[in-house]
């Protein structure tokens, strides 16, 4: 009787060759959850690099801290529809206005640009593809606080 070893060997080689193909079709690194009913969502993320140094990227709204973004992290913030203004600050302040719509997810990336003394964080609109391009860790949801409503003007 003929030994089944060669056939078994070939099968194993073929299966091994298929592994890289399967790895290419891997799901995105992270996915933003669906916004709660009647609300929109903003995903703040920071890829960052070693060049960023120890500069923090703490996101504020209405002068209240929402959360901090260490390098390689993201957090998801549910927000009421309407205009929102978020800020990051170090030696200079940078802001971004967002029009939040119910049921929509928007992405904002934090970068560190060069400053005179220390780096300056800046907020830049981003896309879902940029968000999912690298694997990021989620900031603990308990450390994310929705800002209080702005005072009536």
């Amino acid at each position: 009787m003929r030994s089944p070893k060669p056939a078994l060997f070939l099968t194993m080689v073929a299966a091994g060759a298929c592994v890289p193909l399967a790895a290419k079709a891997a799901p995105p690194a992270q996915i933003a959850p669906t916004p709660p009913p009647g609300k929109g969502e903003i995903v703040f993320f920071r890829h960052g690099s070693v060049l960023d140094g120890p500069v923090s990227c703490a996101v504020h709204e209405n002068d209240a801290k929402v959360s901090s973004l260490p390098i390689g992290h993201y957090f998801v913030l549910a927000a009421e529809p309407g205009k929102h203004r978020y800020a990051v600050e170090s030696e200079a302040r940078d802001t971004i206005n967002l029009q939040v719509e119910s049921g929509e997810v928007q992405y904002v990336s934090c970068h560190i640009k060069m400053g005179v003394v220390v780096g300056r964080p800046v907020l830049v609109p981003a896309t879902e593809a940029q968000f999912t391009a690298k694997k990021l860790k989620e900031v603990e949801p308990a450390k994310v606080t929705a800002a209080p409503a702005p005072p009536p003007s």
Partner: protein, 244 residues
């Protein structure tokens, strides 16, 4: 396709001529000449000559074509939605919330010159059609807002433009719009600036980011933010002779 300023007349010409009865020879010649324009010039002349030599035969052929066209219907006419503005409607028409529309930006915007909060003009590109009727015509004006405008700065920071659609004016009322997000950034040189400064301290501060521009004529998709009912216009009073 027919060309020229009287293209629409020619589209419905065969049916009109069929109803009108006898056809002058020059109309037949134009009809066939126009068809011949799609081919080479030699073909065009040949068609013209046949028509001139055998007017009865050509007239019969043209009539047969017209009958076929009138029975089957003109494709351009069949595919065209009935242009019937809400003013002519008999019942109120509601444009549902989240109706997708296409808008065109009418003025050029640049991160170098635009200001946050600046309002810019928009117009509707495709008409809003409900149940085969044009409810809001193409070209209806609207307005958008520059949500964020930052010019590029030192340290390689790029210029940024974020644009949203605010509203469209229909019959003097504003229909609120949403979901148009044009977010553009110029070339980001922040990494290059930091890397340069690692080699030569502070020189990276001189690195400038790129500006970004949104050209006039840029199209973007948006959605209506709310249900919007268009009431029918009051019927003209038949007694005062306003009806024309």
């Amino acid at each position: 396709m027919y060309r020229g300023s009287n293209a629409s007349e020619r589209d419905f010409g065969p049916l009109a001529r069929l109803v009108a009865g006898p056809y002058p020879t020059h109309i037949e010649q134009n009809f066939l000449f126009d068809r011949g324009e799609r081919g080479r010039s030699g073909h065009k002349e040949k068609v013209g000559r046949i028509l001139t030599r055998n007017p009865k035969r050509a007239r019969g052929a043209v009539t047969a074509c017209m009958i076929v066209v009138s029975l089957t219907g003109s494709p351009s006419r069949a595919q065209m939605p009935a242009v019937d503005h809400a003013r002519a409607a008999t019942a109120p028409v509601t444009i549902p919330a989240l109706t997708t529309i296409e808008l065109e930006i009418l003025s050029p915007l640049s991160s170098r010159t635009s200001k946050t909060g600046q309002v810019f003009a928009l117009r509707l590109v495709q008409p809003i059609v409900i149940d085969g009727k044009v409810i809001v015509a193409a070209g209806t004006p609207g307005e958008g807002e520059v949500l964020n405008a930052k010019h590029s700065s030192f340290g390689g920071s790029p210029g940024m433009l974020m644009l949203i659609a605010r509203s469209m004016t229909i019959d003097g009322r504003a229909l609120r719009l949403r979901s148009m997000h044009i977010d553009q950034s110029g070339a980001n040189h922040m990494g290059a600036a930091i890397a340069t400064s690692v080699v030569v301290p502070l020189v990276g501060l001189l690195v400038q980011g790129g500006e970004t521009n949104v050209a006039a004529g840029t199209h973007a998709m948006a959605r209506t933010a709310e249900d919007f009912t268009i009431a029918p216009a009051p019927k003209p009073d038949a007694t005062n002779g306003d009806v024309q």
